[in-house]
Symmetry: C2
Subunit: 345 residues, 2 copies
DNA sequence: CTGAAAGCGCTTACAG
DNA sequence: CTGAAAGCGCTTACAG
């Protein structure tokens, strides 16, 4: 790095641009006196203190000479649905604040899309710990953090290719509960729209769906299974395909709430009423789920608690202590609202 | 603060717990050699380097001895609607990253509710700048940051009681455009649901609404004006009151999209179709607005650009440069979707 | 309250 | 590649 002199347009150079001795000279006092003022020590005359303080401020000096890295937990997202990301951030923040840490936020979407090394950015800052809430963490990324002694905790990781501490929720059980709910209502032709099944969470949900059918002795109809990504558009388009079949399903289990909203749109376009003509179940329980018409039956993930657990785990590891466990899978809850009813046929 | 010795349960003491000279002794080398390794200088044998690196790592030392405060822009929220907060954060982050800054996130809801001084938390961290995206900043808060030389930029501030640099959007024009759109469709009985009119933004929207009626020569009917807060529930409840009137409005202008969603619910409950029986206009253009049935006509606020502008302003001030202006009001856009149509009567 | 002197921890420049 | 010596910037302990 090239050493730059103070840039002329700066009124306030960064702290340290001028040695403390120069400040002392400018103030007409000795270096020890400036040092005392800077560190809030007693034993400096009020006038002297004010003169020195003004100079320190003008030159960008700040109280509390922090010598260590920032006490900060970094959370990394990759274009996660905003309301979910926010809940996770709140959970992280609550725990971090209790440990005198602040929370840093990064959305690495563009970096990752461009194939750039997102980890470097975070390493420069040297946070106490890093929590990733997106899937694309490689073993190499993990090693970079390991080498710097910064613990990395993954929220809902795609793969378990390398042994990162991780926090997620019980996707399999959630999908099982959702599907059982439909079976108990009497549905037998149940469609499913999944997220990318390479993701552990999407795969676990699909498996839970299959398991419920299996337990109930309902044969699996592969033609009622649609795979897509976690978007409104895929819910709408794949939902429309299911509903356009000669023998359409009477209910649809969705990979997440966004897809469920898409299915609502597809049902409207097909002239079907929910839940009279079609039952719909989502996954996540985002805030809007309760505001839909009809309010959406869905599987709640405890996002704030996931964030809080990830933060606790990360800070425990940063402390060099052994955590109770390195992998947490928090419970999901079926929230029954008005989008599910017995089939009319 | 009491000086603590290293806690026995810590495997990795914080950097600086041990002087570099001790590491040198443990490694059987001289302090200069350790210094070279620590700073990545050349001229150290490979074996020596590895031995020293291992020791440094074990004792929590980290490369890049950062002596300054973290290069970080802090964004402070107060329970802001998550999808909006996220868009703002993304805008801030883009600009911050371009200036080698990271973004810190704080939701001060609990602190503010408890009457605790939220500013102190941020001052400890000594960020380059602070951006507040909530209303409750007092002149005293402003002075605290001023005293520490940390610029404070407010997003969409409630009041202009003290002269903080601020970034918002043109609420008045937006509401004017929304109301004109309804007038052009032929509506004459137009209801309005507002946010707390103490807030500048809510007040500006109400004034824009009034102005549009005024220009069109449509007399103002005070009984069609409902005041509440920016929530789904208030939209639903106040919307229901409007619709229950003997002479209900044929259209409703809402304070934000959340209230508009509430009005959708109220219309459903009243057996009214949107837009055939009732036109609805929102404000904000949150992501879900396009997914509603019918998709919501609303006024878009450029949240990401607001965040980016706030970050640019904050970093310019932190640099000690004079910004082009200290107050920015970005343009809003009417997005016409399917929730508005000519009145049936 | 104030500062000359000593000290601390790290880095730099240079000799081997 | 390595380290004794000098140096730098700040702080501490103490004398006035």
């Amino acid at each position: 790095m090239i050493e730059e002199g103070p840039r002329p347009h700066l009124r306030k150079p960064r702290r340290g641009d001028l040695p403390l001795a120069t400040i002392a000279e400018l103030a007409g006092v000795s270096p020890p006196t400036v040092s005392k003022v800077l560190n809030g020590r007693r034993g400096v005359g009020e006038q002297t203190r004010q003169r020195v303080e003004a100079l320190l401020r003008d030159h960008g000096y700040r109280r509390r000479q922090t010598t260590g890295a920032a006490l900060c937990v970094e959370v990394v997202f990759h274009r996660m649905l905003s309301s979910i990301a926010m809940q996770i951030l709140r959970g992280v923040q609550e725990v971090a604040a209790a440990h005198d840490h602040t929370v840093g936020f990064t959305d690495v979407h563009r970096l990752v899309s461009a194939g750039l090394p997102w980890a470097e950015q975070l390493l420069v800052r040297q946070p106490t710990a890093v929590i990733t809430a997106f899937a694309l963490v490689t073993a190499e990324d993990g090693e970079r953090f390991e080498a710097d002694g910064i613990p990395l905790v993954a929220i809902d990781p795609t793969g378990d290719l390398f042994p990162t501490p991780a926090v997620g929720s019980n996707n399999w059980s959630g999908a099982l509960a959702a599907t059982r709910h439909l079976l108990e209502l009497g549905h037998r032709r149940i469609g499913v729209i999944t997220g990318p099944v390479r993701d552990l969470s999407a795969r676990a949900r699909l498996d839970g769906f299959h398991a419920a059918l299996d337990y109930a002795g309902v044969p699996l109809d592969q033609s009622l299974e649609q795979r897509g990504v976690f978007t409104f558009e895929d819910g709408r388009d794949l939902g429309a395909q299911l509903l356009a079949r000669p023998d359409p399903p009477t209910a649809v289990v969705c990979g997440d709430d966004l897809q469920a909203m898409g299915v609502y749109a597809a049902a409207r376009d097909a002239g079907l009423r929910i839940p009279e003509d079609l039952s719909v179940v989502g996954f996540d329980d985002v805030e809007q789920a309760a505001w839909l018409a009809p309010p959406l039956t869905t599987v709640r993930q405890p996002f704030a608690e996931i964030g809080a657990t990830a933060a606790r785990l990360a800070l425990t590891l940063a402390d060099g202590r052994a955590p109770a466990q390195e992998r947490y899978e928090l419970g999901t809850t079926l929230v029954v609202r008005a989008s599910t009813a017995p089939p009319s046929r």
